[in-house]
């Protein structure tokens, strides 16, 4: 390989390596979000993703869950889910507050993509207010997209469906 080519590709390779440790834009620490919802941070609870649940997750995300234990925080009918999903190339971390099977509010906590930050704007996230699961684990409404942030919008919608599914399953676990 020529020295010139190596000089050109080395920064790209470094950028690839650096992207692995990129922290992205932290809008709010997940801990702070949980504490804001409950007043103080309650002890976490756990939903184990059994084979049956994994199948439902795959149907929503289009890929298997990255981990088999989902932590969540709940008090009464209110639960908080901190979820991560890839937009285009990087993970988006978002917090979902579910009350009585409906989304109370959503907040983008960490955004690591270079484009598409518009998904954190209130005009976008307020579309999820009161959304619930319909047939086929879909949302009961259409979420308007954002030009240039299609993949991030898709990731937010998938996470919203997942939060509602997990909330329902966590109640089934308690009452079932």
């Amino acid at each position: 390989m020529t020295r010139a080519a190596r000089r050109l590709l080395a920064p790209l390779a470094l950028a690839v390596a650096a992207s692995g440790v990129a922290q992205g834009q932290v809008y709010q620490e997940p801990d702070a979000f949980i504490a804001e919802v409950f007043g103080s941070k309650p002890a976490p609870k756990v939903l184990w993703l059994t084979k049956d649940i994994q199948e439902q997750v795959v149907a929503i995300l289009g890929h298997p869950p990255t981990q088999l234990r989902q932590r969540y925080w709940s008090e009464g009918a209110k639960s908080v889910w901190i979820l991560e999903e890839t937009g285009k190339e990087e993970l988006i971390t978002a917090g979902f507050v579910v009350v009585g099977g409906r989304i109370d509010h959503v907040r983008v906590l960490v955004y690591r993509e270079s484009r598409g930050q518009e998904v954190r704007q209130s005009s976008f996230v307020k579309q999820f207010k009161d959304a619930k699961l319909a047939q086929g684990n879909r949302l009961d409404r259409d979420i308007d997209g954002i030009v240039g942030a299609t993949l991030s919008v898709g990731a937010m919608e998938r996470m919203a469906r997942l939060a509602l599914l997990f909330d329902r399953l966590s109640h089934d676990k308690v009452h079932g």
């Binding site: 590709l9 390779a13 992207s19 190339e89």
Partner: protein
């Protein structure tokens, strides 16, 4: 023969010649372009190509694994952002581990900022980061009385489920420590843990010409000029006879 007819013949000849000469490149650019447009959907950003020649070509200096963490029947060797956990690659772009601990129903790998909890079958159960840990950075992990122990600058903590943590005394803890690898082991692990480049990055560099070095993008620029010439000459060849017919 009129000059206009000569020009038409000249254009037709060179339109065909350039088109034929560049057909492979144009097809390559079209195919890589279409694939790149759907790279995320195809999962190309998460797939990596690992080859010594490719790492050399990209100027990546391979990091040689120097030690292993061992606990019970499990072992972990790491290099180049990759973990080899019980002989299985766990993923890409991972931070350097600081320890491995086997507990009755799980094994735990610690990095300075997070804990990775694995089942006995190697499946990732959970990844605990700053908010779920009692303190960071993690200096060491160990086990004592079948509990997970965590040593940080803020103190030592214990947990039975890696969810809730309590302060713990520092006595009777078997801390995970790195074990040196033999030269033969280093060579073997170095091959398994070669650095890689994501398929998406590789395709992007091939598409843009950057893969060929400094002059690669210029060659792709030249192809773009050829494509422009072909488009213009093609349009002219299409329109000119029609224009002539209409004038008659």
């Amino acid at each position: 023969m009129s000059p206009k007819l000569l020009l038409l013949l000249f254009l037709r000849r060179w339109h065909a010649r350039i088109g034929f000469a560049a057909v492979v490149f144009f097809l390559f650019l079209a195919v890589t372009g279409v694939i790149l447009n759907h790279a995320t959907g195809l999962g190309l950003d998460t797939r990596y190509v690992h080859a010594a020649w490719l790492a050399r070509w990209y100027g990546l200096v391979p990091e040689s694994p120097r030690h292993a963490f061992r606990s019970g029947r499990h072992d972990l060797v790491a290099a180049n952002g990759r973990w080899l956990l019980d002989g299985q690659i766990s993923g890409e772009r991972f931070p350097a581990p600081v320890g491995l601990v086997e507990l009755p129903d799980m094994m735990v790998v610690a990095t300075s900022a997070s804990l990775y909890i694995y089942g006995k079958d190697g499946a990732l159960i959970d990844r605990l980061e700053k908010g779920a840990l009692p303190a960071t950075p993690v200096q060491a992990i160990g086990s004592g009385a079948q509990r997970l122990m965590l040593r940080t600058a803020s103190g030592t903590f214990k947990s039975s489920d890696a969810l809730s943590w309590q302060p713990a005394p520092r006595d009777v803890i078997a801390w995970s420590a790195p074990a040196d690898l033999s030269v033969a082991e280093r060579d073997r692990y170095a091959k398994l843990l070669e650095p890689g480049v994501s398929v998406q990055r590789l395709l992007l560099d091939l598409h843009s010409g950057r893969f060929a070095g400094r002059y690669g993008p210029l060659a792709v620029d030249l192809l773009a000029v050829f494509l422009a010439v072909l488009s213009l000459s093609g349009a002219w060849l299409f329109l000119k006879p029609r224009h002539r017919r209409e004038r008659r």
